[in-house]
């Protein structure tokens, strides 16, 4: 019995993670994307800002301190590849 208790704990942890990890609903509006170039050279370059490849689908997006540099976008629609579709509406998130 004691032997299998470890396995039981592993299964319990697997169940807990299945219930607590947020599941993404891609291709519909309301997704959040983090800007990969935040804090890097060229972060404010418009061609980088408007390139969907520079964004990663995250859940949730964390931009706690408002500022002037883009850290991601929220309320965006996925383009089907894990990047935001900038032809649809989205909200820019900024931070220091």
């Amino acid at each position: 019995m004691k032997k299998f208790f470890g396995i039981l704990v592993v299964m319990l942890a697997l169940t807990a993670s299945a219930f607590t990890v947020p599941h993404k609903n891609a291709t519909v509006a309301g997704n959040e994307y983090s800007y990969n170039l935040y804090g890097q050279p060229g972060q404010d370059n418009p061609s980088n800002l408007n390139n969907p490849a520079n964004y990663t689908l995250v859940n949730p997006l964390s931009c706690p301190i408002p500022g002037s540099h883009r850290c991601g976008v929220s309320n965006a629609t996925d383009d089907g590849t894990g990047h935001p579709d900038f032809t649809k509406s989205y909200t820019i998130r900024l931070r220091n």
């Binding site: 470890g6 704990v9 607590t20 983090s34 301190i65």
Partner: protein, 160 residues
């Protein structure tokens, strides 16, 4: 003081503490490892925002959950449990040093931890890690399983 000394001498009590520490660590590492893999893009994005880990985000985002599963296997296997405890201690100490750095220099960045642990603040995370570090140290220092000696009479070869 006498009461504590009496209790600490009790092997059953020590074994319960060791088992509790072991199962809590198994739960913690399985949970965080699976959460990191299930939400891998978020985890990698959080590492990308860290000033010291940014350049290694791809490797770390895979290496960390795999290491956590490796520790779980060590802890599950009674023969390697002590190694599992030592690896857990090393991992949690490195995490705590990293968190200390984040608290001091970049407190606005998100935590790259898995599951509900994301909700913890940086200082809350330090307390959480310290609890587990104390638990591991307690288990390692009270580990008597490999310190059993049998006195043998040289003449009779029988235990005395």
């Amino acid at each position: 003081m006498f009461f504590i000394a009496t209790v600490m001498k009790n092997n059953t009590f020590i074994q319960i503490i060791q088992s509790l520490a072991c199962y809590l660590l198994i739960f913690l590492f399985t949970y965080t490892g699976v959460s990191k893999l299930l939400d891998h893009s978020s985890f990698e994005a959080a590492i990308l925002q860290s000033p010291i880990l940014r350049n290694y985000s791809k490797i770390i985002s895979w290496l960390l959950p795999v290491s956590e599963f490796f520790i779980v296997v060590m802890l599950l296997w009674k023969r390697y449990r002590r190694t599992g405890f030592l690896l857990s201690l090393f991992t949690l100490t490195v995490f705590t040093i990293y968190i200390g750095y984040m608290v001091l220099f970049v407190p606005s960045l998100p935590c790259s931890c898995g599951g509900v642990l994301k909700q913890l603040s940086w200082s809350g995370h330090i307390l959480f890690n310290c609890f587990f570090i104390i638990l591991i140290l307690g288990s390692l220092f009270t580990n008597t399983s490999n310190k059993i000696f049998i006195a043998i009479n040289r003449k009779s070869r029988k235990p005395v």
